[in-house]
Amino acid sequence: MLAHAIFFYIFSFIAIVSAIMVTVSKNTVHSVFFLILDFISISCLFIMIGAEFLGMIMLIVYVGAVAVLFLFVVMMLNVAQQKNQWFSARESSKHIPIGLIISVIIFFELIIVIGGWKYKPDLMPAVSLTMDKEISNTHALGNILYTDYIHIFQLSGMVLLVAMIGAIVLTFRQRSGVKRQSYFSQISRERSDAVEIINVESNKGVKFDD
């Protein structure tokens, strides 16, 4: 139990510190890396409370796809070095009060939600749900995803296929006049095709028929 608590505090500490670092670090690329660290430590927390499927999905979707996409955008837009510093520059200080107000509102909303959840008497507590301890989350999800919801699962695949076809149709252009490298002809080229050794007689020169 002690080890559990120690790990919980380590991961929580890393999560909070990296979340703060995302907003305050000057280099945008560093921000993205701190974001990835934040995601990883939160997924570790999920795994610790037994939600291993949620943790792994968090890793795959947020770290594997979203954060890498962020990284691509940051690198392509070339905004690695932020010119103005948060909290000090005059332009950005205008936004801080608005940001603070929104944070306070979200904070109070969370308090209301959690308070209602905690103190509403007729709400069903999570422990009262019958849960099979033997079977893992992933198994339980798979059991209904591939039986009762198989058609929805397959149709979601079709939706993704249509999205892919659409993206290709709307953006792919066959350019004419592009010179492509042909590895096969490059590799299969022999010395005899390209170079010819000629004995040049003096005072005659060489005549090429090209």
Binding site: D148, H151, V159, A163, I165, V169
Partner: protein
């Protein structure tokens, strides 16, 4: 183990999408082959649905997918409509330089989405089907990406449609919160109280659906999207998705919301009246035929909604007959549009039609028949469609709705007759090309004959549709 026979059409169409995609990738210059193959595959899908036509309603996948007479009939309309749209738009696509392998595949994808929508008996299945069909439609709207108007219409459609999807989802979550289930039957049993949250949920869902069928006041995307998209895509927009969206409308109103009829009936009546009046008045000033079709489709959707508002089986059947006849009329109208071509350039304004009767008497005769039918002049099919609607409305003594509908028919007749006047009495212009594909000619002939000869066999269609009973 569930009986997969009844969903074999959906499985078949999904497999054929992937097969066509792989064929298109590995075989060079296979656009024409894939186009023809997808028409054939759609027809086979239609045969599969017909083969497994159910005599009672069956549910699959933990009661979330339903096959009944309504869904099978509407699926057949969707599939046949899709096949016809593909077959008459081949030449247009070639000339507009958008004859790519992805075009028929995207149409197939959106038809798959519509089939799922039509058969859904669950909020999640419904939403997935809706997104599948609209995602394919966004891409189709901006398919001619080198043209500014096409890209603009795709973007407009995407942004507005995403907004309406958001409203729809909000409504779904409210309904789910109050009924504790996403299943339509369970929702129908749970929704008995008149809680404000439920009313809000119903309103949000109806707004989202009204947007998808472009009923007033959620119609503003339709004219721009119809005008900007390639004409073949406009034809698709104007026919097939309307059938699917109407079915979803019927399903929502009469399965989960059946006990809340006092809440939704005024909303549907308002949507219907507003669409009929707006569709009639706003089309008068239009010069572009595609925009005109958009406004006229808004008006026609008003009539189908009038049939839905009466809450009887007769009303629903009248709406289904209306939408199927409307589909035939639109196919004929767009076949005429595809024939207005000179030197590989298509014309789409009313002035281009002037004096058409001198050069192309047969084409103008078809135009005349289709436009008279759209205006609802007896004894053409359009008249019967409106007749069934008004009959069911008057049987429930909703006289105000019927009077407004009749008046707006009279107003709408003005702009249809104006086109006929331009065709027959204005100065003639240069001749159009006559080298049309056989499919185009056949489709125009069939749709014109269907409209013209409907009065000989009206009981046949009424008989087929009368098997659809929801309440």
């Amino acid at each position: 183990m569930i009986n997969l026979n009844f969903i074999s059409a959906e499985i078949f169409i999904s497999v054929s999408i992937m097969f066509l995609l792989i064929l298109g990738v590995f075989k060079k210059n296979s656009s024409s082959l894939i186009h023809n193959l997808s028409i054939g595959l759609l027809l086979i899908t239609g045969i599969l649905i017909l083969n497994n036509y159910p005599d009672k309603s069956l549910t699959f996948f933990a009661n979330s997918y339903i096959i009944d007479t309504l869904s099978s009939l509407m699926k057949i309309f969707t599939v046949i409509g899709g096949a016809l749209v593909l077959s008459i738009s081949k030449k247009y696509l070639k000339i507009s330089n958008i004859f790519l392998i992805e075009y028929p595949i995207l149409i197939l994808c959106s038809i798959l989405g519509m089939m799922v929508m039509i058969s859904s008996n669950d909020l999640i299945v419904f939403y997935i089907g809706l997104e599948l069909q609209s995602l394919a439609l966004y891409v189709l709207a901006s398919f001619n990406r080198d043209q500014l108007k096409s890209s603009e219409s795709g973007l407009k459609y995407f942004v507005l449609s995403a907004l309406s999807s958001g409203l729809l989802l909000y409504g779904c979550s409210l309904i789910y919160g109050f009924s504790e289930s996403t299943n339509f039957n369970i929702i129908g049993n749970a929704l008995k109280s008149t809680h404000y949250g439920l009313t809000f949920g119903i309103v949000f869902i109806l707004v989202g659906l009204a947007f998808k069928i472009s009923a007033v006041p959620f119609h503003m995307w339709a004219p721009d999207v119809y005008e900007g998209s390639p004409t073949s895509v406009t034809l698709f927009f104007a026919t097939v998705p309307k059938v699917a969206a109407l079915t979803v409308f019927i399903r929502f109103l009469y399965v989960p919301f059946i006990n809340m009829i006092d809440q939704w009936q005024p909303i549907i009546i308002f949507l219907s009246i507003a669409s009929m009046i707006f569709g009639a008045i706003a089309a008068i000033g239009q010069n572009n035929l595609k925009r005109l079709v958009a406004y006229s489709s808004i008006g026609h959707i008003g009539y189908t909604l009038a049939g839905l508002s009466v809450a009887t089986n007769e009303g629903i059947q009248a709406s289904i007959i209306y939408i199927s006849i409307y589909m035939v009329m639109n196919l004929g109208l767009f076949s005429c549009l595809f024939m207005m071509k000179r030197n590989d350039q298509f014309f789409e304004t009313i002035e281009d039609l002037s004096g058409l009767s001198k050069n192309h008497p047969i084409l103008s005769l078809s135009f005349l028949v289709i436009l008279f039918s759209l205006a609802g002049i007896p004894p053409l099919a359009g008249f019967f469609a409106k007749f069934y609607i008004f009959k069911s409305v008057i049987e429930q003594s909703m006289y105000f709705l019927a009077i407004v509908g009749l008046l707006s028919t009279v107003i709408a007749a003005f702009y249809y007759l104006k086109i006929i006047k331009v065709i027959y009495f204005d100065k003639e212009k240069e001749k159009y090309d006559t080298d049309h594909s056989t499919w185009l000619k056949v489709s125009l002939a069939i749709s014109t004959l269907l409209i013209l000869l409907y009065f000989i066999f009206p009981s046949k269609i009424v008989e087929i549709v009368s098997s659809v009973t929801i309440i």
